[in-house]
Amino acid sequence: MSRLNIELPGLNLKNPVMPASGCFGFGREFSKLYDLNQLGSVMIKATTKEPRFGNPTPRVAETSAGMLNAIGLQNPGLDKVMNEELPWLEQFNLPIIANVAGSREEDYVEVAQTISKAPNVHALELNISCPNVKEGGIAFGTIPEVAKNLTKRVKEVSEVPVYVKLSPNVSNIADMAKAVEDGGADGLTMINTLLGMRIDLKTGKPVLANKSGGLSGPAIKPVAIRMIHEVSQAVSIPIIGMGGIQNAEDVLEYFFAGASAVAVGTANFTDPFVCPKIIEELPVLMDKLGISHISDCRGRSWKTNELFAHNRA
């Protein structure tokens, strides 16, 4: 398994595969299906200061090779996550990445400060990009200066490294990435969902009660690959990539683009065993392609071949 281990700020991962935030709850349901210790990490559901119910249903709709969701950050709130969910996760040998969300800067800061003290939280993922929440949020994810300041404030209080989750719904993704790097981010996670909508033919109204929602799944993979290709050359902090990953081939495509680890979201719904399956498939695929260590793949799409050969030296 030493062919798959990855070191990232705060994260010593036995392998680079983890479930994406919001697609795995706090792990309880999946723990009944397989041993979570197989995972590299878990990105837990977004946590806000207060508990939230989220949006009215229907909250999901299907699209070609994708789905829309408008969960609306439903979560049990900071206290319950600290007192119930995180302690429950301590039974596993898993570095947890805590997804932090809010409507105001103060909320982010408060959640980050507290949650970063949990012993098994090894990194934060600042969710500045949730498309499904009415107030706030949008500016954090689309205006570089705002994102930078938020990152700074959270960095000041966090006891663990901070990853910022970028929204793909922007004109210039590299500008956003550079801004949060300037703000002190230790890493990036990308991409969150694209804003989308489906309309029901019979009613003529949006399928989702929230009208629009976040598009995820294989449909968005080419957008994520292109953004990671661009951003990984523009910043020097590592990227955890996500968007439409379904199998080991997709994981390598993300590494080639410039990711240093990956997260699997929607695919957990289609196949709840997808994460351990990918972890099992990876070394087989690497053998087929003559790759000795997964980290050798990182950035191969833009590194010159010489650079690449010396990469691990």
Binding site: C23, G25, V60
Partner: protein, 259 residues
């Protein structure tokens, strides 16, 4: 335990207009312990369509490791399901959710099973179990029209069976509630599954009784992890407390959740 398995199609036939009955066989059946649970079916091999489809378990044959589903060919997913042939394999996740508790009815009790359209199927296994333990079962089943009626004979074998059709082409014209109003039997327990408006009407009229409702909601994961299928609890209709249709339900006691 929830399992993911490729099950083989034992038989597949059309029951009524756009209504199909499919019997599947596999180890997963040994995990099925309750009527009213459902399975989550991958209808294609690729990403088109992407999500699984939730379909209720209609009857279980543990010995043969077989179970039956009855579904309506609605959109893309169920149309693909309808095209499957005997011998083919289908990727099934299940059993999922909490079904109807047959223990709520005692031998000697009278249970009324109320189904609407594609809400009818899960009542069949329930009825078999209830009658099996000596409960008197009465079926009140609603359909749109004559062509959509299925399993009338099967239910009749288990107990008194009343059919309502919206257009009056078969049985009584009207809704299941019209039939219920005229029923003079004792209703010790009512079990129901069907469209939202039907469930609401039942809760309004019979909410004071022992009434169980099976809900439908659009789903992502089907196992309780994605928060797609959440509903408010009845005692906190504007608050943050919730139940998940997929893993806390789909069957709830009347008054438990906000319909």
């Amino acid at each position: 335990m929830i399992k993911n398995e490729k099950l083989s199609v034992v038989s597949h036939r059309k029951l009524a207009n756009r209504i199909f009955e499919m019997t599947l066989c596999g180890e997963l059946v040994t995990e099925m312990d309750q009527p009213g649970q459902f399975v989550h079916i991958k209808v294609s091999n690729g990403v088109d369509p992407l999500l699984r489809r939730p379909i209720s378990i209609s009857s279980i044959n543990s010995e043969k490791k077989q179970f039956t589903i009855i579904y309506r060919s609605e959109g893309q997913g169920t149309a693909l399901l309808a095209a499957k042939e005997g011998g083919q394999e289908i990727d099934v996740l299940g059993p999922l959710g909490n079904g109807f508790s047959e223990h709520e009815a005692e031998p000697g009790d009278t249970a009324v099973l109320v189904g609407g359209g594609i809400g009818v199927p899960p009542l069949y296994e329930l009825s078999k179990r209830l009658t099996g333990k000596g409960v008197t079962v009465i079926h009140v089943l609603g359909f749109q029209t004559k062509d959509a009626v299925f399993y009338e004979e099967e239910f009749k074998k288990l107990g008194e069976t009343y059919i309502a059709t919206a257009d009056g082409t078969h049985g009584t014209k009207g809704f299941v509630t019209d039939i219920l109003e005229k029923l003079t039997v004792r209703m010790d327990v009512i079990y129901s599954c069907g469209p939202g408006p039907m469930l609401k009407a039942l809760e309004q009229k019979y909410g004071h009784k022992k009434l169980f409702l099976s809900l439908e909601e659009r789903m992502g994961c089907g196992i309780g992890a994605c928060f797609a299928c959440v509903c408010h609890t009845a005692d906190d209709p504007e608050g943050v407390s919730y139940k998940k249709v997929c893993s806390d339900g789909p069957v709830f006691r009347a008054g438990e959740v906000l319909l």
